[in-house]
Amino acid sequence: MGKTEMKRTVTSLSSMFPTEEAQKAAKRVEETLLDKQNEMNQLRGFIADNTSLINLVQKLPDELHHDIMVPFGKAAFLPGRLIHTNEFLVLLGESYYAERTAKQAAEILKRRGKSLESKVDSLKAVMQDLKAEASFFDSTASEAAEGLVEIREEYEDESSTQRESQSGRNKMVIDYFSEDEDYKSGETFSFLDPLEQDSPSFTEADNMVGASEDEEYARIMSRLEELEKEELAAESCGEDDEDQDNNPAESDGDDEEQTKAVFDRKKNKGYSSLDHDQRYSESRKPLQQSKGKDPMKEEMSNNYHHQDLINQLACTGLTVEPVTKGKMSHSGNMRQDTKMLNPSITASAPSEKKVKFAVEHSSRNEKSVQTSNSGFDGSKAFTGSIVEHTENMEKNLAGQSTTSSQLSGSQPWKPVSRFKMQRKYIQSSDRHFNSFKTCFFGPTQNPKNKSINDQLSPLSTPSNFPKSTSAKPQTLTLMPAL
């Protein structure tokens, strides 16, 4: 538990994915999308032709004969009469024809219509994928242009057994939180990223998300209890106690982090209005988590949460402009794809994302800055990327995102610290679900993101999961070393 060794790497997104390259890729995807669109139009034309033909074939035998104009050459027509109105020679394909009655011919045509429709469906799916890909490329380009930075830290997996035991605890914690009014925006983050809780200071200092896992369940439990006791004691005293407790845990913790934490706190006060909404979202989410061990559910809740955050942020009109995209990191899938961009990632608020948190659960706790797609290693547990446009921006962001951890240091909110503790456990249990989406969504956020993420998330989990077993032991832990 006491190990606080962590590796962090910070890379600017633009170095990995040059803006022009990303834009080029986006353009290419757009082109293929256009091609597919044409194909789709053609198919639709076929379907329309087919249905009109079916109508005609069904109508023809109504009369014994039809007076028609027979085309004669290119420009001429002759008056003629159509007889044998119930005899059709149907081209089956490959220059085979069959004699059929009107009814039988209509059946053949209907079968053809069905196959056409199935083609349209598959084409639609392909187009959706392409669209997601395109939006991802766009977002990557804009992120790179904005100087987004990705931070990766190593993360250690915990045994899944913890999860059950903790689910109950989570609920309690949640309730507690909902009642607590002081609870700040940062806490929402903690909910989103269970990993963060382990390393609260990291997030503050570096705007990075720390991930830690406990290898030994029993150990963790005992520690948790101790911490809780401490927290209780700390309640009367104020935060200072907590600070001491938590800080020692992070042996590596930088001094900077602490200072930042303080700073963040100050900022947090400004956000009080946000707190309510956030709290709601948080409370909701934990509940879901506790109930559903399903990675899917969790993801959903995460998304939900994000949106809440976004809305709140937009409403409050924060100075920070924390428009962020949630990036899903499908670590497994993404890695293997040679393509940099997978459709799976679909963050769409292109212009305004300043902070992007990409959390990955994976065996390793390395944080490295990467674009969500191509660079992702499944092994990287956790990634947070933050765009730092200006100092002010950064600070603000830090305050919002990392308050929970910061709070523990200097602030008197016991609930927060407790919550964190709890979260940690949860986290470990949750390792199944690899990709967390933790982001601020800007007001401009694309509604599609959500759905896409939902779809994608399940995919990502299986691939990542096996990797976790081989996780590196390096971990960050908040808990004080005993």
Binding site: L89, G93, E94, Y96, Y97, A98, E99, R111
Partner: protein
């Protein structure tokens, strides 16, 4: 100096040759892809025909368009023909797949070789610059 420059020239020639080979391979691959696509479409069509033929009654009249004439065919015969055709196309597709894979492997190794040559050229140039 002169010896190194000649070596460099040789390397560059080598690189050029390899690049040509690679582009040839890529052309082949593209052609193969096209053929494969064509066959796949034909296979789909034949399968459709077979399905429809299976749905026909025994006494249904089936014709085959040969040039400008419709030739009446036995249903069983048409059925067998289509089946044979499907078999042939599937075999062809398999063959194409194998050759495609082979070509892609070749392309990959060519690329590796080109990369190596490029690196060597670079190191040469770097050595030159130092000297």
């Amino acid at each position: 100096m002169s010896s190194s420059s000649t070596a460099l020239r040789e390397l560059q020639r080598d690189l050029e040759n390899k690049a040509n080979d690679l582009s040839k391979l890529q052309k082949d691959i593209a052609k193969n892809h096209q053929v494969k696509k064509k066959y796949t479409i034909q296979l789909g069509e034949n399968e459709l025909v077979l399905k429809e033929l299976d749905l026909l009654n025994e006494d249904a009249n089936v014709y085959k368009l040969i040039g400008p004439v419709l030739v009446k065919q036995d249903l069983a015969e048409a059925n067998a023909n289509v089946r044979k055709r499907i078999e042939y196309i599937s075999a062809e597709l398999k063959r194409l797949d194998a050759s495609l894979q082979d070509l892609e492997e070749k392309q990959y190794s060519k690329r590796e070789a080109i990369l190596k040559v490029q690196q060597r050229i670079q190191s040469h140039q770097a050595g030159k610059a130092k000297a």
